[in-house]
């Protein structure tokens, strides 16, 4: 085995691996990228029903309703200019409450109704997910300080 030959084999191996990895990455990216939208964008852009997305905003005050099964929750998610109805079944994160910024992941089953399979409410009382803060700024409803 000469040095040249060995280098060639290593190179071929690396190339094969690299192309396999690239194929995997491209395939995985196509299926698994989840885009983030604000309620306004959802209302105006016409997101396809069934497409997996994330949506962030504030849980509207006095909008949380629980079904009789005790597990299904409906609430309105707002960026203070548009509102989308969200339905979620499961245990809410302990930081979930009305008036708080949350991010929901799932899909629309009608143009203004969102089925969430995951709700993210993070970390602390004053914390606002930056995506939500930006969504509020975009809709012109941001009341916090300038960052």
């Amino acid at each position: 085995m000469t040095r040249k030959k060995r280098r060639l084999y290593t190179l071929i191996g690396a190339m094969v691996l690299l192309s396999a990895a690239t194929a995997l990455v491209i395939g995985a990216f196509r299926d698994n990228l989840v885009f983030f939208f604000s309620p306004t964008e959802v209302a105006e852009k016409g997101i396809e029903v069934g497409q997996r997305i994330r949506m962030g905003g504030l849980v509207e005050e006095d909008s949380v309703i629980r079904d009789a099964d005790g597990l299904t929750v409906h609430f309105r998610l707002t960026d203070l200019s548009h509102t989308i109805m969200v339905t979620y079944r499961g245990i809410l994160p302990s930081l979930f409450r009305e008036g708080q910024g949350v991010i929901v992941q799932g899909q629309l089953d009608a143009p203004t109704h969102f089925i969430a399979d995951e709700i993210m409410a993070k970390h602390d009382e004053n914390y606002m997910p930056p995506e939500v803060a930006e969504a509020l700024k975009k809709s012109g409803q941001w009341k916090g300080g300038n960052e």
């Binding site: 085995m1 060995r6 990455v25 995985a28 990228l33 245990i91 930081l95 993070k122």
Partner: protein, 665 residues
């Protein structure tokens, strides 16, 4: 007063680090022994100053000195002592002091154990270390001063984020940092070697133990973090492919590759440039991790502060270190002469393949982690790359790696007989097939893919055991003879076997807990029972309980199986009044073969509580596996051949006996 002493000590440490970063480097270039000797003294002094600074800060925390802004924002007088101490590194400023403390400790350790390093190499290594320290000390002093006073002092502090008030997390940052910062030693050696323009077996022998230490600590650190996420976040999962998790995982992947390639470098004098590159990459990824986590570009429990100045500073430092070292590599690497030749089918070949797979995996994780940032920076919208991406990409890369780990250790160096090895491991193949068939049968109709993960695990575990049995000639010679052979096997070999066995445990745990977990979510009333995976969970209701600095709604479950008592579980929903923040405390009963995991949620207003019950098969094996891996690292380190002091004698022999080694240049 003590606080000011700490502040001054930190400034002194910066000045000393500046001296240490320049004078010995000049000395090494000129061959001036006196200038080079400055390095050791400076490293010692730097360590002493940083210890003083760290202890002063800790004192402020322990005595709850709220005139210090950092203490006031992150501590509280009613906090248990453990969390007052852990609170030192539970925030951005304090964690940086811990960072530099560990960096200086590694510097001191190089002085202490590196007595037989060639003086020029030692001077350069310590200089590079000091350069990193200069970066982090100025970062701390100029953008994140932990000793800043606040006037008037508040009556009490803001407290530590309740999620972080947890014993598992108290020790997670120190271990993680020991890993991150530990790679700085390999990095410093790599830079020093590039400056000198030579890498030889002796160099690799010095680098290996440091890499091994860093790798073992990082393994423990990541495992602790994942364990914490498992029991504290209340979702029953242990890995989320969250960017901050990836930030710690990427250096681990690169470090694991480095660990293996350094062996080839030492034993066969090959893969030199590659090993140097991996050392640079592993530390660069550690820095990148620090940047991602600390700059606030990612939002997570770790992003303590979102001060843009800090982000810019770390980014600048990152560009300087990564760009500088890669440029140096590009210029100097061609000087590193390639050494021993080997056939594709050989131990070296196996390790090369291992390295290709590990670095590809690290690259895909890097891509998935940074992609949302790029897209955001380009203004093309906000995306998230979630677990499905990482699972689809990562698992197909890891599966061949596990297969490889079962064969490669049995291949001979230089040129191996693959068919011979395959013929010999019939038993391993048979065990694997049996386990595979059994798990396919057990899992039929329920995530059958999981059976292949179990098969991989069985393959690796049985191969490790088989290899050991062959080495001690088990059942071929008398038991006593076998025992003597077992004792004579070098500890480094035991270390490898243990680490690989740990991987097998980990793979089994990961597979089973992902594929066959059972989950039940429901509303329960007092006296109700639900059945999950053959266990009966009787709910006794919820009572109010008081903790030291929180109040809790404490649920009570009695778990039985076929009438016999299994466990009493007490999950809690805590509320911390200081931070006005709730946390969920899962109650977990482990049988070592599975975990029963119970969380209590909100009341439904009609006397019922939402509850979540998980049956997680083999999940404890994940952390057990990680601990066995780290233990393998420790056992390997205890090998005499790995001792940092040992290379001297061997080096002389190399100089005499092996002309290929460039020591004798």
């Amino acid at each position: 007063m003590i606080v000011e002493i700490g502040h001054i000590a930190l400034i002194m440490a910066l000045i000393v680090a500046l001296v240490q970063a320049t004078i010995p480097m000049i000395g090494a270039a000129r061959g001036d022994g006196r200038l080079m000797a400055v390095a050791s003294t400076a490293a010692g002094a730097q360590w002493v100053f940083i210890v003083i600074a760290f202890l002063s800060l800790m004192n402020a925390y322990v005595t709850s000195d709220f005139s210090v802004f950092n203490v006031a924002s992150n501590s509280h007088s009613a906090k248990p002592m453990l969390y007052k101490i852990a609170g030192v590194w539970g925030n951005h400023e304090g964690s940086l002091v811990l960072w530099v403390l560990i960096l200086a400790t590694f510097g001191g350790a190089i002085v202490l154990f590196g007595g037989n390093l060639p003086p020029a190499l030692r001077a350069r290594v310590l200089s590079v270390q000091a350069l990193i320290a200069v970066g982090f000390l100025s970062f701390s002093l100029f953008t994140s001063n932990p000793f800043e006073r606040v006037f008037p002092a508040p009556l009490d502090g803001n407290g530590l984020n309740p999620l972080l008030q947890d014993p598992g997390l108290a020790f997670h940052p120190p271990f993680l940092y020991l890993g991150y910062v530990g790679f700085s030693v390999a990095f410093a050696f790599a830079i020093a070697a590039l400056i000198e323009g030579r890498v030889d077996a002796a160099w690799a022998r010095w680098v290996r133990p440091w890499t091994l230490i860093a790798w073992s600590f990082l393994t423990i650190g990541i495992a602790l973090g994942s364990w914490w996420a498992y029991y504290e976040l209340g979702w029953g999962g242990w890995w989320y492919w969250d960017p901050v998790e990836n930030a710690s995982f990427m250096p681990w992947l690169a470090g694991t590759a480095l660990l293996h390639s350094a062996i080839v470098c030492e034993k066969r004098d090959a893969l030199k440039a590659w090993t140097v590159l991996l050392a640079i990459v592993a530390f660069s990824l550690s820095l990148l991790g620090t940047f991602l986590v600390r700059s606030g570009v990612l939002t997570s429990v770790h992003a303590f502060a979102t001060d843009p100045a800090r982000g810019v500073f770390i980014l600048g430092f990152l560009i300087f270190v990564v760009g500088g070292s890669l440029t140096l590599f590009a210029v100097r690497a061609p000087l590193l002469k390639a050494g021993g030749l080997f056939a594709p089918v050989s131990r070296e070949g196996g390790i090369v393949l291992n390295n290709l797979l590990f670095s590809t995996a690290a690259a895909t994780v890097l891509l998935g982690t940074l992609y949302p940032l790029f897209i955001d920076a380009l203004g093309a919208g906000k995306v998230s790359v979630g677990p499905p991406y990482f699972n689809t990409v990562f698992i197909p890369l890891m599966a061949p790696l596990i297969v490889l780990a079962g064969i490669a250790p049995m291949l001979a160096w230089k040129r191996a007989d693959l068919t011979g090895v395959i013929a010999r491991i019939k038993i391993v193949a048979a065990v694997t097939v049996l386990v595979l068939l059994w798990s396919v049968y057990r899992a039929w109709g329920n995530a059958v893919f999981g059976a292949f993960g179990i098969g991989l695990s069985a393959w690796l575990a049985s191969s490790v055991l088989f290899d050991w049995a062959v080495r001690i000639r088990l059942f071929r010679v008398s038991a006593l003879d076998s025992l003597q052979r077992a004792i004579r096997i070098p500890r480094a070999a035991y270390g490898m076997s243990l680490a690989h066995f740990g991987v097998a445990l980990l793979v089994a745990g990961v597979t089973a807990s992902s594929a066959w977990r059972t989950e039940a979510i429901q509303v329960m009333r007092q006296g109700e029972t639900i059945s999950v995976a053959g266990f009966e969970f009787l709910f006794h209701g919820v009572v109010r309980a008081e903790g030291p600095n929180y109040t809790a709604d404490r649920g009570h479950f009695t778990v039985t199986r076929a009438g016999g008592l299994v466990a009493e579980l007490w999950p809690e929903n805590r509320f911390y009044p200081v931070q006005q923040q709730p946390t969920t405390e899962a109650a977990i009963h482990t049988t070592w073969l599975s975990d029963l995991y119970v969380v209590v949620g909100d009341p439904d207003g009609q006397g019922g509580w939402s509850t979540r019950v998980y049956y997680n098969p083999l999940v404890p094996w994940i952390w057990l596996g990680a601990m066995v891996m780290a233990l393998g690292g420790a056992v390997s380190l205890s090998d005499r051949r790995h001792r940092v002091g040992a290379p001297n004698r061997r080096r002389r022999r190399l100089m005499a006996g092996e002309p290929a080694a460039e020591v004798a240049r």
